[in-house]
Symmetry: C2
Subunit: 336 residues, 2 copies
DNA sequence: TTGATTTACTTAATCGATTAAGTTCATTAT
DNA sequence: ATAATGAACTTAATCGATTAAGTAAATCAA
């Protein structure tokens, strides 16, 4: 392995000089710096991130936390899109990313300990169980964090606008003549609460009453559970004309169930999803859904985290609302 | 930050003793070791992975390489499943994972340099452009690697059995009475070549002749391109009764195109996919496809890589064939 | 010309942990 | 009684890079 010592010998200068030359310190003569840089290249020198991290206390490495409790964090397109954009932006800014988990081999540690152990400069927290005290410990620690879709008391977070998204969907189906709506929601997280509240509020504003039994719980990203909820809705005395699904994938479970009952979408029943993952737009029929700006969220999360890391003194926590967009699709029939 | 120095002061022993006690060295009195361990816990000591890595030359960190050239590596379910299982197995064995990319911020480096810079103990290479000389450089370097779905001359790799998978699919549709098959394949990688060869060989073995124009190129994971290929196939003088798609997602593009022509699946046309991602089994109709053991592949990749890292002297490169499984679905109609 | 300043380095300490090579003291063997 | 052995430590070097503080020579000011 080529180290600065090798370069210093080759150039007949001290290691300090080499280090400074490579880092562009002002007190090195231009021609010396040039000579050193040439030698470094000639010898195939690569800085050692580990050694540098040890000395300067910065690893240029940020952790990403995708808790598995939600059931297979990474492999849902919404989250993998976020992961990919976090990765891309972090790399653009010179940071690598490492996954943070509970427990590593034999050592049992919580998220904070893991991040600390790896010297992460900061952590992006997505898709986590925000009730978990281990998350709270990490967020309230000295390690900079950015959370996605959840805000810890005056800490930085990136939020998708669930209130606006749900409102847009409700108004869209309203404009298409629907007055009897059902809403299948996911587990009771703060995101879910916002969506339910926005659903109810928008319905109220439009003068729609939502009969009992038309707001039903299910599990995010679980077609089976949304299928069951769909069946329950179909058995209601007064059948709705449009069903809202907790996410795009859950819509597929609903579709199966509807098909089983001989109900065609959108002829006999309109449906909408949520997330607007790429998949939703290549399905037939193309899903009416609300696209959360996953790439934007990931990018912003990385950018803000790194800004916080690099300017801790002037940092002001902020909550960024990511823009979404209604994708009209073709699963809502105009029954006006 | 609590370091071994703090513990050594608290216990009145040298730092060496603390280090040895915490690592279970044999020349420390049991009661001393116990006392040290207690103090470490009491002070909230956490080992510093960076410092350890610098000294011992091992980072307990493995790189994963998902090249983006294939267009959005991580966000395809097949790859995210692999990623997740690599992560799970690596963590079980005490290793963290870091993404390896070309270029990091201002520094331009290739994969090898990046892995070296981060002191990765090894790298799992998936979804990469194996023609890229940068990949070859990494694989032929001193850094242990495991490749997925591609074998570099006598290096360790995990392969899904494309030959067997394609054969199973062809035989399945044959048993369902199909004699006129079309195959839309992805970009010309070694995987694709194996699938095409196996498709042709199995057809030949079954006495099926594949008319010209029935093997068409498209792009993996791109519904649009498979839609175009589908259209071309529909225009053939002798229309096939079953279309093979390059992957499960591409099938969706085909579906749209078939629908546009008023062709119902499987009534008027049978189709099969490839990959067997979870999505394929919640679609309606449920896709007939061949499941590649993504979790098994990821797990094996991590396991073998770490074995290689920990026992470099006794290591023998090997090629592991992951087991797949035909998922019958309901997109192939029996026209026997 | 002489003291002050600037330039371009070098020296040496340091980050936190590991480990080969001592050292000390108690125990055992002869 | 004395040497040899072993247990339980300590000392000090080391991994590779950074950086505050020091120094020698060159340049400048008056």
């Amino acid at each position: 392995m080529v180290t600065i010592t090798d370069i210093s010998k080759a150039c007949g200068v001290s290691r300090a000089t080499v280090s400074k030359a490579l880092n562009g310190a002002p007190d090195i003569a231009p021609k010396t710096a040039e000579r050193i840089r040439e030698q470094a290249k000639a010898l195939g020198y690569l800085p050692n991130a580990t050694a540098r991290a040890l000395k300067v206390g910065r690893s240029y490495n940020i952790g990403v936390l995708f808790s598995d409790t939600t059931g297979g964090g990474i492999s849902h397109e919404y989250f993998s899109q976020i992961l990919e954009s976090v990765k891309a932006e972090a790399e653009r800014l010179g940071y690598d990313i490492t996954f943070i988990s509970k427990d590593l081999g034999a050592m049992s540690m919580d998220y904070y300990e893991h991040a600390k152990y790896r010297n992460c400069d900061g952590v992006v927290i997505a898709s986590a169980d925000f009730q978990d005290p281990a998350i709270a410990r990490l967020v309230t620690s000295e390690i900079p964090t950015v959370t996605l879709d959840y805000t810890f008391d005056s800490r930085t977070s990136i939020l998708s606008d669930n209130v606006r998204g749900m409102e847009a969907l409700v108004r869209f189906v309203y404009e298409n003549g629907h007055r009897k709506l059902a809403f299948i929601h996911g587990e009771m997280t703060s995101v879910t609460q916002k969506r339910i509240a926005s659903f109810k509020k928008t319905c109220a504003a439009l003068g729609i009453t939502v009969p009992p039994g038309c707001i039903r719980p299910a599990v995010y990203h679980d077609p089976r559970s949304s299928g069951l909820a769909t069946r329950a809705i179909l058995e209601l005395p007064e059948r709705p004309t449009c069903i809202f699904y907790p996410d795009d994938l859950s819509f597929l479970g609903g579709m199966s169930e509807l098909e089983r009952h001989g109900i065609a979408v959108p002829k006999d029943m309109s449906v909408v999803g949520y997330d607007g993952i790429p998949l939703s737009q290549v399905l037939r029929p193309k899903l009416t859904t609300y696209r959360q700006g996953a790439e934007q969220m990931g990018r912003e999360a990385a950018r803000l985290l790194i800004e916080q890391i690099e300017h801790p003194d002037t940092w002001l926590p902020q909550q960024v609302m990511a823009e979404g967009e209604l994708l009209p699709g073709s699963t809502v029939r105009n029954i006006g």
